[in-house]
Point group: C2
DNA sequence: TGATTTGTATCAAAATAAGTTACAAAATTG
DNA sequence: CAATTTTGTAACTTATTTTGATACAAATCA
């Protein structure tokens, strides 16, 4: 009777290529923690076991994280006995923006899970608009995070000490 | 032999109080979509079925979302036959910062899942530091999002139309 | 050579997000 | 006022994402 018309159905195919990257959630926090630990150890290499004990997680979780930080050239690792990881640059030369980029798949909010109805004028165009906004917000977050160096984080951690 | 000392263990109890809030991920995107739909309908109330058809989801998902937007005084709903939802203010008076606040539990990155080791000088203090940074980043995101009004989103959606 | 440590694959578990069904309460319509 | 429609919510299921654990090869050192 007075029922509003639903839009026509659209069939959409997705081909999902799953690269098994490490998940991304509290990883930024963990990464900052890990790098702060490495900084506190100076030139000396740290083992994943020791870092894991501070972060309170499994050494493998730390090693996966270090893998990403390594790819971003923030740390240097060495295998074998007496192996371990140390910072690749000094704490003043690393900022939180670098870390965010290194670990995040990098979006503040997610776009629609399912594609909206393409037969609706709004549904057809909203995704592109949201995508544009998303990119801008992420850029803003990156810039803001870049204002903090790892050195400044270390100083804040030290001040908090009682 | 030369194994670095692990920090002592700390037992931490969690009491998780689960308020069944709607989850928070692509909800901001959905919320913007929903409000754009309502705006396009002007004074006239829209039904959750119709909005759901555009977003390509279940009407209940939309109603849950509308509940949050209602609490934030962004929309007005009416039950019963000939019921539905309309905007509570005009699109120029709603900005994306308002919407973000309304739907998000509101953090760009998560703090540690498990509390870090309190016997480690870094573990003991890193959370507070990250929390402070998190708050500042969220503030920045809110401010940036506030630069977009719903009206401006509508205009962008209209421009994308072919 | 033997011990140690990273790197990575694979599996398991937990947490989170999204979707569905069901139904009471509210409001309109005839 | 009875029938119909629509929101509001609870309860449940399913899917996806995130985290944690085990296992082991390759690298490195003493």
């Amino acid at each position: 009777m007075n029922s509003q018309p639903a839009f026509g159905l659209t069939t959409i195919s997705f081909v999902t290529i799953l690269v098994t990257v490490m998940a991304a959630n509290s990883q930024f926090s963990m990464a900052v923690h890990v790098l702060t630990m490495l900084a506190s150890s100076g030139e000396e290499k740290m083992k994943s076991d020791c870092v894991a004990a501070s972060v309170n997680t499994n050494p493998v979780v730390i090693r996966r994280l270090l893998g990403q930080l390594n790819q971003a050239s923030l740390v240097i690792s060495q295998t074998g006995a007496a192996g371990g990881t140390r910072l690749a640059k000094c704490p003043k030369e690393i900022n939180l923006g670098d870390i965010y980029k290194a670990v995040e798949c990098g979006e503040v909010f997610a776009l629609h899970a399912k594609s909206p109805n393409q037969d609706c004028p709004v549904g057809k165009n909203i995704e592109a608009v949201l995508c544009k906004i998303q990119k801008e917000i992420d850029k803003t977050v990156g810039e803001k995070l870049s204002q903090y160096t790892l050195q400044s984080v270390i100083e804040m951690v030290e001040q908090g000490r009682d």
